[in-house]
Subunit: 132 residues, 4 copies
Amino acid sequence: MSTVKVDPNITFSLDAANGTPIYRQIIQQIEYAILSERLKPGDRLPTIRALAVELKINPNTIAKAYGELEIRGVLVTQVGSGTFISNKKPEAPESIEEIRNRKIQEVLGRFMRELEDLGLGKDEMLELIRKF
Amino acid sequence: MSTVKVDPNITFSLDAANGTPIYRQIIQQIEYAILSERLKPGDRLPTIRALAVELKINPNTIAKAYGELEIRGVLVTQVGSGTFISNKKPEAPESIEEIRNRKIQEVLGRFMRELEDLGLGKDEMLELIRKF
Amino acid sequence: MSTVKVDPNITFSLDAANGTPIYRQIIQQIEYAILSERLKPGDRLPTIRALAVELKINPNTIAKAYGELEIRGVLVTQVGSGTFISNKKPEAPESIEEIRNRKIQEVLGRFMRELEDLGLGKDEMLELIRKF
Amino acid sequence: MSTVKVDPNITFSLDAANGTPIYRQIIQQIEYAILSERLKPGDRLPTIRALAVELKINPNTIAKAYGELEIRGVLVTQVGSGTFISNKKPEAPESIEEIRNRKIQEVLGRFMRELEDLGLGKDEMLELIRKF
DNA sequence: GTGGTCTAGACCACC
DNA sequence: GTGGTCTAGACCACG
């Protein structure tokens, strides 16, 4: 696992041996940074090549992540100057806050199910987080 | 019995009518090549497909051999570039309890990173779990 | 320019020296086949590898086209069995017929502007098409 | 899309979100104006700066378009007085008329293939143009 | 120096 | 066999 602070506004933590494809981890972390408003419309993302060097991965992997977010309308790219957070309105009329809460519930549900599968009760979970 | 020199450093001699499964023969021959230092940490092994063609056997058989050696930490594979001799020190066998604790830490770490990415602090996490 | 009939329902005409990226030409031709109902929800597309051989291009180029259409919800893929036209409802409540008409107007507008730029009047355009 | 009449003899219609680079759109529209004889050898083009202001784009973009046309011998610039349509003979012994006809065939071919892909027959195409 | 396109070829996961 | 992920490295287009 490597954690790299690329920018005041976004830190990438990648884990190649995680099962989740690297490009999906990048997509998720950009999306979460937008949902928590650390990244705002118009903000510039790190360049593909700079990020590839920082994260020690192939530039094409980052291009794939940026590319998917561009198709989804989350990012816009201007060749020659960089990649930016889009200010496009989403088609679904769900607010950032609503999406964020939905994501939090998803993460929480997955977490509790996995720890229950490993035989932990709620008290032990609370204890673990307190000590983390 | 067929003997095939695949590489300057390793020669495979397989005998299908031997009783010993082919994938075991491959494993043994790689291990012995390492013990005798004909293969050293960082050396690249032949690709699964190339070796399958050379040895005239099914690629899955080689994949099984490589896979087992990877589980044991003898080999590491880097998707996209090949399979290499690991430089990892052999580990002491891990107890069930140790494995469980490691899994718990993994789940916990991923959970906390994701919620942090979504802008939550530790107190909010504890509160969420309490209310769950 | 190469034209390849891949399937009873779709024919690809690619022109590498066209300026338009190959993967975009593929995307457009799949979209148009759907809009004109030669391809319907559930239909299976050619496999990436087979199409790559037919069109004499790299499989990754086709994967990129299919991938973008999958992100947009136009295609769905089932690893191990192939890539299919999605039956997902679009978010925008525009019918296939409406989209098709819009595309026709776009193509028509571009065409007439270019031929006007080349100094043709409407009568000459009609004559050209008649003779084509 | 913006359409700007810059001069009695040439009107630019640029569309930034078109895929075609802006400098190519400019080149094409100048070439087509020459092929249709709205611009003739010796005619003066708008200055780079004036055109940049009119079209609200970066002067470098226009410089690139003019520059490429100059390399091809279509334009000549006289420092201090402006940029003009060249009277140089084209190297290929193709007449203006031949080039124009070739371009018309290209545009026509692309148009008809796209509308066929959208499921239109020749009669429908003729009808569409008539009504345009 | 920015991103975009394309090729070639590796292993992986699934049926 | 299917598609998916990743690497490596080519050349191009744009500012």
